[in-house]
Symmetry: C2
Subunit: 246 residues, 2 copies
Amino acid sequence: MAYLDMQHNEPCGAGLLSHNALADQKRGWDDLIAQSRMKVHAYAAHEVIFYEGDPAHRIYELLEGSIMLYKLLPDGRRQVVEVLQPGNLFGLQADEVYDCVAETLTACQVRMIEHRELREVAVQSHINQCMLTQIQAMHEHAVLLGRKSAVERVSSFFMRFVPNRGVYGCLGPREDGEDSSTFTLAMTRQEIADYLGLTIETVSRVISNMRRQGVIQLEKQDRVRLVNICKICQMTGTRDKDTEDF
Amino acid sequence: MAYLDMQHNEPCGAGLLSHNALADQKRGWDDLIAQSRMKVHAYAAHEVIFYEGDPAHRIYELLEGSIMLYKLLPDGRRQVVEVLQPGNLFGLQADEVYDCVAETLTACQVRMIEHRELREVAVQSHINQCMLTQIQAMHEHAVLLGRKSAVERVSSFFMRFVPNRGVYGCLGPREDGEDSSTFTLAMTRQEIADYLGLTIETVSRVISNMRRQGVIQLEKQDRVRLVNICKICQMTGTRDKDTEDF
DNA sequence: CGCGCCCTTGACCAGACTCAATATTAGTGG
DNA sequence: CCACTAATATTGAGTCTGGTCAAGGGCGCG
């Protein structure tokens, strides 16, 4: 076990583990995957992988596609608590049952990992790192749900689809002044509403307003073009209006 | 390394790890604590332990007292993202900086753990388990913030202070029909509001209404008596009105 | 006793929700 | 390929919950 022999001289670790350790744990994870021919399962869009309350037999790794985790109140109200990207783990539980429903948004490739295969040490570290990222995302989502207006919520949601913008160390627009981005939404208006803690009508109205204002364009209902990313970034409420990045 | 030799025969693990494994990792954690005389620091009420953006040098374990983690928007809006109890870890980060402010609610005892002391394997498992519990709590909080009314939020908040009630396998009221509970709030109205995604006025109004309705009593502003726990539990929105537990 | 802080209450307002009608899109079968 | 249908999205009108602003009350502490 080389793990325990590792030297860590970094004065300030990058989060829980240094870069070296991160590489090591990723290797450990990949090794585990390689050895034990674990099941990879394909799901269609809008299929449920597990329900809240199901016994938590195994954990999952999302390889391809997009998945949402949500919880339901007895009267039918729904809150999407996480939207997952490839590389994310899910189904990890503190208790013996899943605490929310996992449903695919698009067609997905999912790796299933039985608990007994998780005793490997290096794997624990990999799981740790995934959870840390998740927790940070949920902190930001709590701010969105608790404190942001409808416009700020939808703007924040759109900014998720622009890599390296609106985050710490945002580079600003490209040199040539071009500052737009186009992407396809994998979620319906209802799913977006349930993720942002709004109603479908409010989501629709906000998107329509943004279109009329010209900050976004819609090729199709699910094909969004952000015309001016910086502008939208300022609409998220997360950035101060005075510290414009252009 | 006994860790890798452990046999796990449980058909369905309790969450990520079996009961045995849980005991093992707790021992590993305690051993680590015992060996390395780690600093224990005392904080007064309403002291900041670290700010958002500070370099994440170390992690912390809350030994005694109560702590909140919050994030601020540039215009001053605040969202409390977690309220911690003794035993909880905090300061764990995916990045090199803390993603939120940690501030004490009451006087606290806090153990500081440098990153280089965290390489031990058994410790990783302990951290894992803490994070899993945290994640589940945040899922529930997301439902509260995204989908619950003011009354439901305050009721849910109060139910946090009643152990073993309002959760899966709730025992219901005692045999003798007594169904009340008294506790002291460590948070001001403003802190409660920022935790529940409401304003101070709304929190105050809801509490006053509950008092007028007779479901709670207030000895002092921060001393709450839930007169009828089952009733309040039904006001949380989490329980179906038809499945009363008495 | 008086000051300051926190909490409560009231009146009014606004943003988001509800309900309802209509428009658009995607999917299906002739 | 087009017509038809079902599902999804948009828009409007009206309502209501919770926010805002402002004033007053209570309590602890010097």
